[in-house]
């Protein structure tokens, strides 16, 4: 009587290991799921007509505020810092915080405050210049100039901060200037010819 009762139970599939593995997979995907880290962005447009022009050729008569950035003491990583000049004024502004230190120093508060103070000073000068140009921010062009080689080494973050000043003031027309490709067009042509051979 007992024999037919036991047989069907033995042929049944054992689900336990499969379920174990599936749960393991779920846990793996849950842990490795990362949510994206950005939540803000600045929108911008590249110039259509002169995207690759070696030297910008705008008429000089438009109203603009030019901020020139370059890097100093590049050889020493600790001392390297960005310097700004507005139009062709004599005054230069030194950005004190090294980019790497910014997050760390936020808690200490000193150098970051210096950074923000400098940015506030720059902003006040830009406001003055803008008013001298008539005061309508949309009519005044912002120009961010970082000529190579010293300008090329300026951290992306410093440029974004300057861009931010223009945007805060409502100057939506901002031009970037100072790009240089690693090779000159002559060198590039020579390399292309060499490769073709």
């Amino acid at each position: 009587m007992n024999v037919p009762l036991e047989e069907p139970e033995e042929t049944e599939l054992n689900m336990t290991p499969m379920i174990d593995i599936v749960f393991q997979l779920i846990i793996f995907f849950l842990l490795s799921l990362k949510f994206k880290t950005i939540d803000r962005r600045i929108e911008s447009m590249l110039p259509k007509d002169r995207g690759l022009a070696p030297t910008p050729t705008f008429p000089e008569d438009f109203l603009k505020v030019k901020i020139k950035l370059f890097r100093r003491d590049m050889k020493d990583k600790e001392k390297a810092h960005t310097v700004l000049r507005i139009d062709n004024d004599r005054t230069t502004y030194k950005l004190p915080a090294a980019w790497k230190g910014r997050l760390k120093e936020l808690s200490a508060g000193t150098r970051v405050q210096d950074y923000d103070k400098t940015m506030a000073r720059i902003k006040s000068v830009v406001v003055k210049k803008m008013k001298a140009h008539g005061g309508n921010p949309e009519e005044v062009k912002g120009e961010i100039v970082a000529p190579p080689p010293k300008g090329g080494a300026v951290p992306h973050g410093d440029i974004v901060q300057v861009l931010n000043i223009f945007l805060e003031l409502g100057m939506i027309d901002v031009v970037f200037e100072g790009a240089a490709t690693p090779l000159t067009s002559k060198e590039r042509a020579a390399r292309a010819a060499k490769k073709g051979r």
């Binding site: 379920i19 950005i38 803000r40 447009m45 997050l103 951290p155 690693p182």
Partner: protein, 169 residues
């Protein structure tokens, strides 16, 4: 007769695993799909600060944007490609920029619906760059986008709000 009744009882008491397994498989599939989309696009970088950024909502427009990641050491990550802009040799840097152009051209494809009437691309490019990346790398990326056969002019810079500032008034 007696034995038969006992057999029926034990069968009824067994748990039905099928719906649970269905659910767990669904969960696995869900996580597999989401993981693919969310992880590849953004490389972890220390974003620059800006108070003027707009809130980022993905894919507001009809066209899906490209995300170009720029790490602090000059490495560029775009889709599954990787380029090193920080090489000592300007020739290698130039090659990396050319390769980026090729990648942009290939990923963009030739779909005419992605182009405006004047040939400009509708695809926006987000530069998801590190605070400390050299500005010239960003400029090279911008130049690659504006190349005459790529014509991507819509640009976005990924930024984050400074932690010490609440909101602008």
């Amino acid at each position: 007769m007696n034995a038969n009744r006992i057999m029926a009882d034990t069968d009824d008491a067994k748990m039905n695993m099928t719906p649970m397994i269905d659910m767990t498989f669904l969960l696995v599939v869900f996580f597999m799909l989401t993981i693919d989309l969310s992880q590849k696009e953004f490389f972890p970088v220390d974003l620059p600060f800006a108070t003027e950024g707009v809130e980022d909502k993905e894919d507001e427009g009809e066209v899906r944007r490209f995300v170009i990641n720029l790490a602090g050491d000059g490495h560029v990550y775009f889709k599954s490609y990787e380029f090193d802009l920080a090489s000592e040799d300007p020739g290698e840097q130039d090659d990396a920029i050319q390769a980026l152009q090729d990648a942009l051209r290939e990923v963009h494809g030739k779909d005419p619906s992605l182009r405006e009437k004047d040939g400009a691309s509708k695809v926006p490019v987000m530069i998801h760059g590190d605070w400390g990346a050299k500005w010239k790398y960003v400029q090279w990326i911008m130049q690659a986008c504006a190349h005459p056969d790529i014509k991507i002019y819509k640009l976005q810079f990924a930024v984050k709000r400074p932690p010490d500032k609440k909101s602008k008034n």
